[in-house]
């Protein structure tokens, strides 16, 4: 028996075709140069294919021809909205490879920078995510606060986007005098601002309708797809590298790992909103307990790890950011340099998430998994 389609029911006259639509690479809501090929039935998405590679700069290959310190600068350009986290991840991997000891003061400052960076990255996320769904005011509010964080970074290392703010074995420079006070003052401002975003979104009926039940994915499915970070925690899996395999000073910090229940866009949103608050909690603890001491450990003048390989992951704002580095022990550059980018792994869940939803949900879901194309393509 024929399946009941408009064509079998009414003949050629009502034949319906699928509409193939090319979303991106120039599209306002694909967060950069992502291209999604959508197959539509009316406005319903039957299938989606994600095409990446428009921002490929060959960072991994380039790194094999740079010395170990120069690579820090390249890692800035991967997740360019969270450059400090990338720096920390890379430096810690090399430190693990060389078995270097990092002074406690450096660890604390790294923790503060990582968490400030997480807030900055989440600010960008909440802004663009809300903007994709049509709430444009949140975008500017979030950028207003992100600016404050960039000011703090500028005072620390002179740069506002690509910081190059770490060195293998510690930090390039100590925090400026009075900087910790400013960080604490920022925390107080930010507390109120998070409530402001939530007033505009969390209980907004339209926001609820647009995000609840959209892109539902169960915990095991999400884990099987390699999703990580807030996108995975939104599905109820309490996986956080900061808790599970603590690095920097996270083992000395008290914080909770928020998890969602439903695994939909709304829960992923709630998880990230709670992460704002947890990050502030960590920053307060770290800033108040920052120890005196040196900022760089005992690092050999020529960085040349012994032959070997290592993998080390940290919790970047987007998820589990891992570095796999092989050293041949002979040259002053890595033999192999490979990154496990959280955005890339989260992005591969997109076709699964959008299936059966409408075109408008596609942009909501791209925002919901929080990708940065610089990191996806590298």
């Amino acid at each position: 028996m024929d399946t009941l389609t408009p064509k079998t029911l009414y003949g050629e006259m009502f034949d319906t075709n699928e509409l193939v639509i090319n979303m991106g690479p120039q599209h306002p809501s694909t967060h950069g140069v992502l291209r999604v090929v959508l197959r539509l039935d009316g406005e319903k998405v039957i299938d989606a294919e994600v095409v990446i590679g428009y921002l490929h700069r060959g960072i991994e290959k380039l790194s094999e021809n740079r010395n170990w310190t120069q690579i820090i600068l390249l890692t800035d350009r991967m997740d360019y909205v969270a450059a400090a986290t990338n720096n920390v991840g890379y430096c810690q991997t090399v430190e693990k490879l060389m078995q270097l000891e990092v002074p406690r003061r450096a660890k604390y400052v790294r923790t503060i920078l990582c968490e400030l960076q997480r807030i900055a990255s989440h600010c960008l996320w909440v802004g663009t995510h809300a903007m994709d769904i049509g709430a444009m005011t949140v975008f500017l509010y979030a950028f207003r606060e992100r600016e404050l964080i960039l000011d703090l970074f500028e005072e620390f290392c002179g740069a506002r986007l690509t910081y190059n703010s770490m060195r293998i074995g510690g930090l390039p420079l100590d925090i400026p005098p009075g900087w910790d006070k400013k960080v604490l003052a920022f925390c107080d401002i930010m507390d109120a601002k998070i409530d402001e975003y939530e007033t505009l979104l969390t209980h907004n009926r339209i926001w609820l309708e647009r995000t609840k039940g959209i892109g539902v994915i169960s915990g095991p499915d999400a884990a099987a797809l390699g999703m990580c970070g807030p996108a995975l925690r939104g599905s109820g899996v309490a996986r956080d590298v900061r808790k599970d395999e603590p690095y920097a000073a996270y083992d000395e910090m008290e914080f909770d790992v928020p998890v969602g229940v439903a695994g939909d866009t709304y829960d992923r949103y709630l998880v990230r909103m709670e992460e704002f608050r947890q990050s502030l909690r960590i920053i307060r603890q770290a800033t108040e307990g920052i120890p005196e001491g040196p900022i760089v450990g005992k690092v050999p003048r020529l960085i040349k790890p012994a032959a070997g390989e290592t993998y080390h992951a940290i919790e970047s704002p987007k998820g589990e950011l891992g570095y796999f580095i092989v050293s041949d022990g002979k040259s002053t550059n890595p033999y192999r340099f490979r990154v496990r980018p959280p955005s890339f792994c989260n992005l591969q869940a997109l076709p699964r998430l959008v299936k059966g939803h409408l075109v408008a949900d596609v942009v909501a879901l791209i925002g919901s998994i929080d990708i940065v194309l610089g990191e996806v393509d590298r």
């Binding site: 509409l19 639509i21 090319n22 599209h27 306002p28 809501s29 539509l40 009316g42 406005e43 809300a130 903007m131 994709d132 769904i133 049509g134 709430a135 444009m136 005011t137 500017l140 509010y141 207003r144 505009l200 979104l201 907004n204 339209i206 926001w207 309708e209 647009r210 409408l358 075109v359 408008a360 949900d361 596609v362 942009v363």
Partner: protein, 341 residues
């Protein structure tokens, strides 16, 4: 001679070229400013003091821009669509009463272009033609995103036109006339503005008005984030400007109609309370503009605050909430009206 030809012609010229068109262009500036303030920005500040000349600069820019017709577009429909969109938005002003008849240098001048006995019907029918502009634009562009937008526009038109028209029927039941001037006078005689006796109709009309003018949170046909501008993706220069102006002209129409129907038009607050007679120093048309401005401000405010509805949710809201509510309101109005007689 003067009363028959000069004054009516002058009125049309003044309303359209000194009233509506500047109002529409400055509406754009107002929106940019208000949204900027809501978002802790400054808005346009460069052209003239506080950016007050920005609309003029924008107009010059749009007129000088290259006018592109895509090769695959349906040339005639593509050209006609912006006009179909703009013209109804302007001719609706023919029946909007900005004030009562006043004496002006010894001549009686009514502050409306004309008062026809089916004014409300005229507005509804003309305003619904405007949406064809959007539908045809999306269709004629021969491009995928505009096509989706025009589908959305047709769905939206059907869902909201019905609800809005039903609320208008309740208004007609209350006032017993279709003439815009008559409706205002009926509110004067009833000693009460209609939004107090018809709150449900008022709210539905306003929501429907948002949807009909494609304003946030119902701006689906031009959803910039999904459809990259929607129906006007392929338009440039002055043709794009026509769509743009039509949207703002429609906003003013909806505000004016809402003012006339529900807020007593040109009447001052409590028009029957003699103690408030001093309020009459403010001319009637100023009251009208003030009330309309309140609506326009809410239009902008809503846009700065709310996210956008999704296509299916908009349909659900229209068919499952607004239309039943409007029908219930109509029935209740009718029953109460009969019982009070």
């Amino acid at each position: 001679m003067i009363d028959q030809f000069v004054i009516p012609t002058l009125k049309i010229v003044i309303v359209l070229f000194a009233g509506v068109l500047p109002a529409v262009t400055y509406m754009v500036l107002l929106e940019r400013k208000v949204i900027a303030w809501a978002q802790s920005r400054l808005g346009p500040m460069r052209v003239g003091p506080y950016g007050v000349l920005q609309p003029i600069a924008d107009a010059i820019k749009l007129m000088l821009k290259e006018d592109i017709t895509p090769t695959k577009a349906d040339r005639w429909v593509f050209t006609a669509a912006p006009i179909i969109s703009m013209v109804p938005a302007l001719i609706v002003y023919a029946v909007i009463p900005f004030g009562p008849t006043v004496q002006f240098f010894g001549h009686p001048v009514s502050l409306y272009i004309t008062d026809i006995n089916v004014g409300l019907l005229y507005i509804v029918s003309v305003a619904s033609v405007g949406v064809y502009g959007i539908i045809l634009a999306g269709y004629a562009s021969n491009s995928k995103f505009p096509l989706l937008a025009s589908l959305r526009a047709s769905a939206q038109l059907i869902s909201y036109e019905v609800a809005v028209t039903l609320t208008l029927v309740s208004v007609i039941l209350m006032t017993g006339t279709l003439s815009m001037v008559g409706i205002v006078n009926a509110q004067y005689n009833a000693r009460v503005w209609l939004f107090i006796v018809q709150p449900v109709a008022f709210v539905i009309f306003f929501i429907g008005g948002l949807a009909e003018t494609n304003r946030a949170p119902f701006d689906l046909p031009e959803a910039e984030q999904e459809l990259t501008g929607g129906f006007h993706t392929e338009y440039s220069g002055m043709r794009f400007a026509l769509f743009f102006l039509a949207e703002y002209a429609n906003m003013i129409v909806v505000s004016s109609v809402a003012t006339t129907l529900f807020l007593g038009g040109w009447l001052r607050p409590f028009p029957n309370v003699a103690a408030l007679h001093f309020l009459d120093v403010v001319p009637s048309w100023i009251w009208f503009l003030l009330k309309s401005f309140v609506f326009l401000y809410i239009f902008i405010w809503v846009r700065a605050t709310l996210p956008r509805y999704r296509y299916d949710q908009l349909m659900r809201l229209g068919w499952k909430v607004l239309i039943p509510l409007a029908i219930a309101n109509l029935v209740v109005t009718g029953i109460v009206k009969v019982m009070l007689r």
